[in-house]
Symmetry: C2
Subunit: 311 residues, 2 copies
């Protein structure tokens, strides 16, 4: 980093497994970027500040000005750095920024703001991190009226309208897929032979009969044993059954004719796009990091306006 | 064991995690019983005979007669002692006995017979061990016409009629429950506070909407976070959702008016009985060890009749 004096604030997405940091200038342009494996589950008592300080060393301007650090994600969980209580849906970007908490920090140059997550009381649900991606998405599309899907470990579907998150629905799809593929009897059927046709076929089977999920899973293993050979396309079939059960439950809930956006990257986002296409729905793909950063910028802008002028 | 000379044969149920052995007299009465943790997944190359020999030491009569050892379960799997190829449904007890394989054994006094499992080609499915329990069940109830449920890691539902296993259906319920309770985010919601009402409530919710399984699971975690407290009855709710999805898929397949038997022990069998009662079905409980031993006795009787008189 050869121009730390241009750094105006620092954006952080502090998740369960990893964290990402961006050095930002006064126009919210990215000057530098870092990643670390020091996610929430690697940090023991009180280690958050030490990890942050280490990662932003070299980013602090020569002046003595305090640098705001705006953090979203699991750092605000009860077991995180400092709990930022959930905002209840329907929730708007300004409310989320207003709900930021500031842990005491020993480092004289850092001023930390941890953003809250969102919760839903009826049909209980929670998110931490995705709400910031939704804020970034809404900043780019202020008039959006439709659904936003955020595939992942705990896949989320949010209803977005008039610049607010109205409601949302989480599915444990990613975590269940991982446990089945790595820790269950199905690990013996996970040859590295991805096959798009098997994925589509599994999506359609799940659509036709979502309730037989626990039986269909065992069929992945049994099909290989009955044929005295490994079933081809095990990973694609498993992925299709798991995502297919999620999509089959979600599709009837989609407001007819409403838009669908997918915030995600790489293969997983394409799989969700394919699964939706099997149901006759098209989705707009949004880059996940762009959305996260957009949400952190929006939060910083709100926070900066409320800070004293000499901050 | 003070009367080894009465021992006529040895019955063994060799599963994935454990094995159980019974010393039997000529009238198929149990003279002694042993258990061991040396299941299939603990045994490396060729260790089966050594484990067996160690466990039956002290059970061999003083005469030089060979002792038949009749084994059911995973010892006959491809990765077991010696593969006993599956019999295809519909399958009768005599066919299973006839499908037994005998691995070469160094010990001069032991003559080993490993029973096959059963497979189903259309709607692919397999079982190893449960078919022997079904044989034991049918020996006691030769005219039974109905369904038999065998709850467990891979829960099975078999259609039994005229002394044959016609078809069956496996659900990964037990394994999925274990992975979710121990390895997923839901492990944080597994306080030791079993509550029958929460179990029944979850069974009914799963019956009403089995397709939202992956969402409902996350609700177990979220309900605690939204209320800023641990959700009471986490284990009962999770168990109810998992068993409930299985039962909700199975109940419409039950032939109207046909009998239901449950082969199992302890709490799990009672949970299945309760879940079926929520759907208006009653089930007859059958002790699992009695069924296993009955099936091994039936197999021994068939095998003994086919052995040379000087055996």
């Amino acid at each position: 980093m050869d121009q730390p004096d241009k750094i105006c604030w620092i954006a952080v997405d502090w998740g369960t497994s990893n964290l990402r940091l961006w050095a930002m200038d006064q126009n919210n342009a990215v000057l530098d970027r870092r990643e670390s494996g020091q996610g929430l589950n690697k940090i023991s008592d009180g280690g958050f500040e030490a990890v942050l300080t280490e990662l932003v060393s070299g980013w602090l301007p020569k002046s003595n000005a305090k640098i705001p650090v705006v953090i979203c994600g699991m750092a605000g969980a009860k077991q995180g750095w400092r709990e930022a209580p959930y905002c209840t849906v329907p929730v708007r970007p300004d409310e989320l920024a207003a709900g930021a908490v500031s842990p005491p920090v020993d480092h004289a140059r850092l001023s930390v703001f941890i953003l809250p997550g969102a919760k839903q009381v009826e049909d209980p649900d929670v998110m931490r991190g995705e709400e910031t991606q939704l804020v970034g998405f809404m900043a780019d599309m202020p008039d959006y009226d439709g659904w936003v899907c955020l595939p992942g470990t705990h896949s989320k579907w949010a209803r977005v309208q008039n610049g607010a998150i109205l409601s949302f629905r989480t599915y444990m799809s990613g975590e269940v897929y991982g446990l089945l593929a790595q820790n269950s009897i199905l690990r013996h059927s996970m040859a590295d032979d991805w096959n798009d046709d098997f994925f589509r076929d599994a999506i359609l089977k799940a659509a036709g009969q979502p309730g037989d999920f626990l039986h269909r899973l065992f069929g992945i293993r049994a099909a290989g044993l009955v044929g005295n050979a490994t079933l081809p396309g095990g990973p694609a079939t498993l992925s299709g059954y798991v995502i297919g059960v999620e999509i089959a439950d979600m599709v009837p809930r989609l407001t007819p004719g409403s838009a669908i956006a997918l915030i995600g990257d790489g293969k997983l986002a394409v799989l969700y796009e394919t699964a939706l296409a099997c149901h006759g729905h098209s989705a707009r793909l949004i880059n996940a990091e762009t959305a996260t950063l957009g949400g952190l910028c929006r939060a910083y802008t709100v926070l900066a306006a409320s800070l004293s002028p000499d901050f």
